[in-house]
Symmetry: C2
Subunit: 206 residues, 2 copies
């Protein structure tokens, strides 16, 4: 399987390739792409190897073609439907973030235990009661969820998600979820990120 790091970088490459394409750039060299994402040419070429798409020594990589290959790799020619559970501060921010149609990721429904939220449309996405989760996930064959409930509730909600067929979770709660090995969890841990910044910027230890 492709290493996580490579997958992450491929996602980055594509973002910058799309910007370049908008700007009318037709082809890029590995060193240009490296410059864009603050990496190295060797790293870029190594990563692109796994796409099975070859650039040419003369023209570098065809931007449109490369984007297409990354799309294929991610299997995102089609829109990916996602649900979000926990329409609080961060949940609402995320709804707004993914609202712009630019992305191929679409939050088709959100859920909250707060009955006053359920039924309302928040940031273009209808908020449902937790009881509706089962049906909506099943009907839309949703496989991916964003989890933004308080840490105390994260595990129990994760259990419900898994039970209903969710296979991938983007988790914002500062907890380490326990899930079956065939479910992928990606933690977004902002406190940890912040502490890294503080550590590495203080004194800038070598």
């Amino acid at each position: 399987m492709t290493p996580e790091k490579t997958v992450a970088r491929l996602s980055l490459y594509r973002r910058f390739l799309k910007i370049a394409k908008e700007d009318g750039v037709d082809n890029v060299y590995s060193h240009q792409l490296a410059e864009m994402v603050r990496s190295t040419p060797a790293q870029v070429r190594r990563d692109l190897m796994i796409l099975g798409y070859n650039g040419s020594p003369q023209k570098g990589y065809d931007v449109a073609e490369l984007i297409k290959h990354i799309d294929t790799f991610f299997n995102t020619e089609k829109i990916i439907d996602v649900i979000l559970v926990g329409v609080g501060n961060i949940g609402r921010a995320l709804l707004s973030y993914f609202r712009d149609g630019k992305s191929h990721i679409k939050i088709i429904a959100s859920f909250d235990k707060d009955e006053t939220k359920a039924g309302r449309v928040i940031n273009n996405s209808r908020c449902y009661a937790m009881d509706d989760l089962k049906n909506i996930v099943a009907e839309n064959n949703v496989k991916t969820a964003i989890l933004s409930v308080p840490a105390t509730d994260a595990q129990s909600i994760a259990d419900i998600l898994v039970e209903n067929g969710i296979r991938g979770i983007l988790n914002f709660a500062p907890t380490r979820l326990k899930v079956p090995s065939d479910v992928f969890v990606e933690d977004v841990d902002i406190t940890m990120n912040m502490e890294k910044v503080i550590y590495f910027s203080a004194g800038k230890k070598k």
Copy 2:
């Protein structure tokens, strides 16, 4: 210098140690800590080595003592002052997130170019006009910033931050900032995180 991964894990260990302490746990073994953070005992012991604090073979690690050593490592016995630029959707969520005094990270001021926000107190943190940034950063000797402005403005604001003595930036904009080598940038790239989830959960490729 301590590897990034280790620093990240030390932050995690501390979080769970604090929870354990709250629960009245006095000492932990490496395998218990590993269980909490979903890691391995060997990894835990290896990480803790760099703290220069030794557990005992019989009692494992003293929870309070270990927390203290991690605090020392992070140099966070004292409160760390941080500023935030860009009081939009995600900015407000972050203000709320760090608002609870539990953390040793404190957002002492936020900034926005929007004049209607400047002057108001949002989530316990006063929002200032950009013009005030220079003085507030200098007066409080702030070294760390959270950047949550639109991608189009991120680089120019980063330049201002660096100019005013900021040495570490937690960046939420989907851009790769160009900063001097003695400034540390940590990117929080949610689209990328989401794409990782989608990739690794789809079909669960091996």
